[in-house]
């Protein structure tokens, strides 16, 4: 883990809270940073308000620091394009090599996680650990806890109906591996989440279980503060932009659900079609045994139909393994995003309620009480984080779906090409003139 204050890295990352200007300190915030309004690395790092380099048992922060929710820094955050492209990437994670472990109490699969990084947060340039699904699940909960203002990527479904799906079949394991790999890659690509302490430990610790048992609260300040937001406040109106996001997510999830159903139905119909084809082809074979001159042509047709059947089976397998899981992941994703939106609403509700309470008290104070200030910070950070994450999410979603749908089209093209080849190849056979008797 990192020692002292981090260097100014070209990519975004956390920075010591000490350097954060106070949002309400007025113009001094600019001064503190050097007065320029162009996004400096420091401010860039200021985005993820909560991340800390040091483990502080009580989650407190050094005095004198607070959230950088000044308007300029907010603006900077929003202008920032956080898409890290390949050239600036300094963290690579791969999930592969699933292995089955048979123990007395249970059988389970572990996956190898290989990490390569030049970041200072990592003591070594390379790590290789093995993790199982529950470890991923642990990581995700920890991320949700510690980064409540961010959108945490989804995991593949936890529960599988035993007996219906074979948890240890090659196809299932491969599908899951791909999803877990995607999960880690999404975190890796996130400018804030990728620096999360738990994530680091997940990637590097030799004995994760021991670490889990320690139960050390690595809660960030934000995490801690959001955690304490009481749910008792009701938000009157969601601000327009978040309402729009909420509506979007609702419709989006709905449409994906429909697409999932359609895709499943198509696969079902294709499988039934396949069943009939498997009976159809051999009948030509049977017929060929009755014939003389027609025997070869009929046998040829039978073989051809057999080839098409195989191609169809490959198509349905691909769609089941590659297409459906990604759809479902995105539905899970949007569900978790809606929870984050709700949390945001709570934060805003609390702030507004407290603000109102102050106003009602009619006390003549020029200064806003500290706890109301804190609420405002929270809310503004949350809003900023969420908006930035939404934008990133939208971009990634677009790429993901472009790839997914193009992949679906590709698989269908390949299926038809295989069938085309089969049928074209028997035309000469059918046209062959029998040798004169």
């Amino acid at each position: 883990m990192a020692g002292g204050p981090p260097k100014a890295l070209p990519s975004t990352g956390p920075h010591s809270l000490r350097d954060m200007p106070h949002p309400l300190a007025g113009s001094s915030s600019e001064e503190a940073v050097g007065g320029d309004s162009t996004p400096s690395p420091d401010l860039l790092m200021a985005r993820s308000f909560g991340d800390k380099d040091l483990i502080l048992p009580n989650g407190g922060t050094p005095a004198g620091t607070s959230s950088p929710a000044s308007s300029s820094s907010l603006l900077n955050r929003l202008q920032l394009d956080d898409d890290i492209d390949g050239e600036t990437r300094d963290l690579f994670v791969i999930v592969d090599d699933p292995k089955k472990h048979v123990c007395t109490m249970e059988t389970y699969i572990t996956y190898r996680i290989t990490t390569k990084s030049t970041r200072v947060e990592f003591d070594l340039p390379e790590y290789s650990v093995r993790r199982r699904y529950q470890d991923f699940d642990w990581l995700r909960s920890k991320l949700e806890e510690s980064q409540p203002t961010h959108l945490i990527p989804p995991l593949p479904e936890k529960f599988v109906v035993k007996g219906v799906v074979d948890r240890f079949s090659e196809e299932f394991v491969e599908t899951r591996r791909k999803a877990l790999d995607k999960f880690l890659k999404r975190i890796t690509d996130h400018p804030v989440l990728s620096f999360n302490e738990h994530f680091n430990i997940f990637l590097t610790a030799k004995d994760l279980n021991a670490y889990k048992k320690q139960g050390i609260a690595l809660l960030t300040r934000m995490g801690e503060s959001v955690k304490h937001v009481t749910g008792g406040y009701k938000l009157r109106t969601r601000p327009l932009e978040f309402a729009a996001i909420g509506d979007y997510l609702d419709t989006f999830a709905l449409k994906l659900g429909t697409i999932d159903r359609i895709a499943q139905r198509i696969i079902k119909e294709e499988i039934e079609y396949l069943v009939e084809l498997r009976e159809y082809g051999p009948v030509y074979s049977t017929w060929s045994t009755l014939e003389g001159e027609l025997a070869e042509p009929l046998e040829g047709v039978s073989a051809c139909i057999g080839n098409c059947s195989t191609a169809l089976e490959e198509l349905t397998d691909d769609m089941t393994e590659d297409f459906l899981p990604v759809l479902r992941e995105y539905i899970l994703y949007s569900d978790s995003m809606k929870s984050v939106l709700k949390k945001r609403d709570q934060v805003q509700a609390e702030y507004e309620a407290k603000l109102e309470a102050v106003a009602l008290r009619k006390e003549d104070r020029p200064k806003v009480p500290a706890d109301v200030e804190k609420c405002q910070d929270r809310m503004e950070c949350f809003n900023a984080d969420l908006k930035a994450d939404m934008e990133r999410w939208q971009n990634n979603k677009r790429q993901d779906f472009r790839q997914l749908l193009m992949g679906m089209a590709d698989k269908n093209i390949q299926y038809y090409e295989k069938c085309l080849m089969a049928w074209e190849s028997i035309i000469p056979l059918l046209q062959e003139k029998q040798e004169a008797k």
């Binding site: 429909t258 139905r265 119909e269 085309l420 049928w423």
Partner: protein, 450 residues
């Protein structure tokens, strides 16, 4: 029992004309197209005839179908379809075709024609009619006889039937067939006047013969076996094909749902919207393409069905042989027993049981004169029997020879036709694959623009 060599009464007398299209008139020629000049072949028609109709090549088409209502035999209202049969003769000189005859027939008249042909040409594999009722349908197709698609396919099937007859070297010369094409009124009466129904072999007799015949020609036994198997395998094929069509229809149609959901989804998207929307359109195109594809496949199914029904025609020829053979065997047996009786009477030994012998024993001997009389009768019968047996033998051999010739002709036709059918089926599949590739490539391009 009628036999098969060209019966002067039933045949139109001119010398062999050129059958329409010659043996190559397979299914391809059958579908209402003008048959190409088979004029290159030497026709062998050099004798003048008093029936000019047959000198020229003819074209037959069943060009239209019409719904009619009328009163049936029980004076009840009924709806039926009538088919317009047009016959054209092609003038040799300029290749133009002139409409010579045009009349309307309904399905039952076709059936009558075929029944007649079966009786008078038992050694010929008589072309089958298209099915009376739609069978082997997959769910979208209607099994209704009045359905326009069914009527259309039947029209083609009936045309094919007539062309098959017209291209058969023997059947094409049949007078009743000629009248079918030319004489609208009174044709039914003419057919019935031939009394063919009476000449038809009873089913019971035929069944009996099948079981009891001892030495049928092995080729016919094998052929019967083959036709049974052929019928079974083609039925199976048609059944499964219908199910395959059903499933394929389902697959394509469900894709149409993508069209709508992509459109709805595109409404909430900014950059992705256009790509989704246009991809959805291609999914709609994909879904609707299946209708034409499966309609084309019905033609393939019809080609198979024709040969399914041909199996029955083959069996009919085999049955006829068995019947003749059985008849021959019975006649020979009868002759043998008569000879035996005669011998016994002559020599006085009684080896065979006869009623006369019994009664003689019981009621007294017969006189020598009586015995002489009986022997004489028997000898006459034996003579007759021997003549009959000879002619039956001859008939039997003629039948076998002619039938087998036609069967060989049929086999060639079948191989040609089915090969063509398989090729056209493969071509259909290729076209379907190409369309699929096109649609998905288009969709992929739309997705890439998302």
């Amino acid at each position: 029992m009628e036999q098969a060599p060209p019966d002067p009464e039933r045949q139109l007398q001119p010398a062999p004309l050129e059958p329409l299209g010659s043996p190559d008139a397979g299914l391809g020629a059958a579908v209402g197209k003008e048959t190409e000049g088979a004029g290159e072949e030497s026709s062998g028609v050099d004798t003048m005839t008093h029936n000019n109709f047959w000198l020229k090549k003819i074209e037959i088409s069943v060009s239209e179908a019409e719904k009619r209502t009328g009163r049936n035999a029980m004076n009840m209202q009924e709806t039926y379809t009538a088919y317009l049969i047009e016959t054209r003769s092609i003038e040799h000189t300029d290749g133009q075709s002139v409409l010579t005859d045009s009349l309307w027939r309904r399905y039952s008249e076709f059936e009558l024609l075929r029944s007649y042909l079966l009786v008078y040409y038992p050694h010929i594999v008589v072309p089958p009619l298209p099915e009376k009722r739609a069978e082997f349908v997959w769910h979208k197709l209607s099994a209704d006889n009045m359905d326009p698609d069914f009527v259309e396919r039947r029209r083609i099937g009936l045309e094919n039937f007539l062309l098959r007859i017209a291209s058969h070297p023997l059947l094409c010369r049949d007078k009743i067939f000629y009248l079918f094409l030319t004489q609208e009124g009174n044709w039914k009466e003419t057919v019935n006047e031939t009394g063919f129904q009476l000449k038809a072999d009873s089913r019971l007799k035929a069944l009996n013969a099948t079981f009891r015949v001892k030495n049928p020609d092995k080729r016919f036994t094998d052929l019967k076996h083959y036709s049974d198997e052929l019928q079974s395998v083609i039925s199976h094929l048609l059944r499964v094909r219908a199910r395959v069509a059903d499933r394929l229809y389902g697959v394509y149609k469900v894709h149409g749902n993508y069209g709508r959901v992509f459109s709805e989804w595109s409404a909430i998207e900014k950059e992705m919207g256009d790509g989704l929307q246009s991809a959805g359109h291609h999914m709609d195109v994909y879904a609707s393409s299946i209708d034409d594809i499966l309609e084309d496949e019905e033609h393939y199914a019809d080609q198979l069905k024709e040969y399914l029904f041909y199996a029955e025609a083959l069996r009919a020829v085999c049955r006829k042989h068995e019947l003749m053979q059985y008849d021959l065997e019975m006649a020979a047996q009868d002759l043998a027993s008569k000879k035996q009786q005669c011998e016994e009477l002559a020599t006085g030994t009684v080896r065979t049981f006869s009623l006369k012998g019994m009664t003689t024993k019981l009621f007294g001997q017969e006189t020598p004169e009586q015995r002489e009389a009986r022997i004489k009768v028997l000898e006459e019968q034996i003579n007759e029997g021997e003549q009959q047996l000879k002619s039956k033998n001859l008939e039997g051999r003629e039948f076998v020879k002619n039938a087998w010739a036609d069967i060989e002709r049929f086999k060639e036709q079948k191989n040609r036709d089915l090969k063509e059918a398989l090729i056209s089926y493969a071509v259909m599949q290729i076209s379907m694959c190409k369309k699929g590739i096109q649609v998905w490539t288009n969709a992929k391009e739309c997705f890439s623009k998302m």
